[in-house]
Subunit: 189 residues, 2 copies
Amino acid sequence: MSTARAVIYELDDDGADVLTPAQYAILGLLEHTPAHGYQLQRSFAPDGDLTGVLPLEQASLYGALKELANQGLIQGVEAREGLRPPKTVYQLTPDGRRLLASWLKRPVERLRQVRLDFLLKIYFTRKHGRRAVRSLVDAQVSACHEYLSQLEARAAEIDPDDFVYLVIESRTSAARSTLDWLREYRRRL
Amino acid sequence: MSTARAVIYELDDDGADVLTPAQYAILGLLEHTPAHGYQLQRSFAPDGDLTGVLPLEQASLYGALKELANQGLIQGVEAREGLRPPKTVYQLTPDGRRLLASWLKRPVERLRQVRLDFLLKIYFTRKHGRRAVRSLVDAQVSACHEYLSQLEARAAEIDPDDFVYLVIESRTSAARSTLDWLREYRRRL
DNA sequence: AGAGCCATGTAAGAGGTTACATGATTAG
DNA sequence: CTAATCATGTAACCTCTTACATGGCTCT
C-alpha cells in the first residue's frame, strides 16, 4: 500500500517511468476487462495485437503480475471452475488506474522509445477516442522537437571530422525522420 | 582454445554475432595498440570517442576482458612498474584478429543496431582506409534495402485499420530514413 | 487413448549494475 | 598533506530468458 503511494508521488515529481513497458501494457490490457494470466498471454502471442511491439515470455508475464499486485496496482481474485486448477483474475486498483492514466498522457523521452513505448500508448489511447490520441501525438511531437533542437545545438559545437559528429548526425537524422512520421500520422487523424 | 575455434566455426556457419558489442569494441581498440583495462576505460569515459555510442561500466569492462581471455581471443601479459600494483596488458590473438575482421566486414541485421553496432564498425573500419568504409556502407545499404522490402511485403497483407499496420508502417518509415542517411553518408565518402 | 489446450508456477543460469575494497602515485 | 588519478577487482543484487513441472479438460 504505502509502496504504491510512494510510486504515485514519484510520478508527480519527475514524471519518470516507474514500471517496465510490459508492466504498463498489462495495466492497459486490464483497464476495461479484468483477466487472468493466460488470457493476457494471448495478447502477446504470435497472433495477438501486441506481437512485434512487445515480446513477453510467459515466465516474465506471471512475474510481472505478481510484482504489480505487490505494489498494489492490481488486485487478484481466485476463481474456480469445476476441478480445474484455480485461476487468478486481476483487475486494476484505483492506484493502478491513476498510474496508467498518467503514463498514457506522458510522451516518451528517448527516441528509441517511440517505436515501442509510444506505440503501446497509442494502442491503449485509441480506446479513449480520437481526441485523446491527437493530444498524445501532439505532446510527442513537441518532445521530439525539443530533443532535436538539443542535438542540433550540440552538433554545432563539434568538429565535423570528429567521430562524435557522425554519431550526433546519425541521431539528428533519426530524430528528424521520427518527427516527420509523427506529423504525417497526426495529419491523418 | 577449442572454445575459440568453435566460435570461429559458428561464425562461418551463420554469420551471427557471438560477442556483445562491448566485447567487439574492446577487440577493435586492441587491434593496433595493446592496452590494459584502465587505458581502455578512457575510450568509454565521458570525453572518450565511444561515449554516447556504447556506455560501459568499469566492472563490465574488466569482466569482458576476462571473458575474452577465457575464449582465447585476447592474451594478457602482466607488467610491473615500480611498486605499483601490476597491470595486465592485453593484445589480440590470431583468433581474436580473425573474429574482429569478420565482424567488421558484416553489416548489422537489425535496424536498431545501425545506431550502435554499425557506427562502432565504422569507427574501427576508418583506420583501414576509405575503401574499407565504403564497402562496409555498401553492404549495410543492401541489408537495409532487403529488410525494407520484407516490411513492405508484410504491410501489403495487413488491414490498414489494424494496429499491427501502424506498427509495420512505423518500422517502414524508420527503415526508409535509415537508408536515406546511409546513402547520403556513402555519397560524401 | 492421445494430442493439444487451459492455467500457473519454479529453478537455474546469464548478464548487467551498483557499490564497495584495495593500495600506490602524482599534483597542488 | 590532501585530493585526484592510476589500476584492478569482488560481492550483492536485479532482471531476463530458458527450461522444466504440474495437472485437468476437450476434441477426435
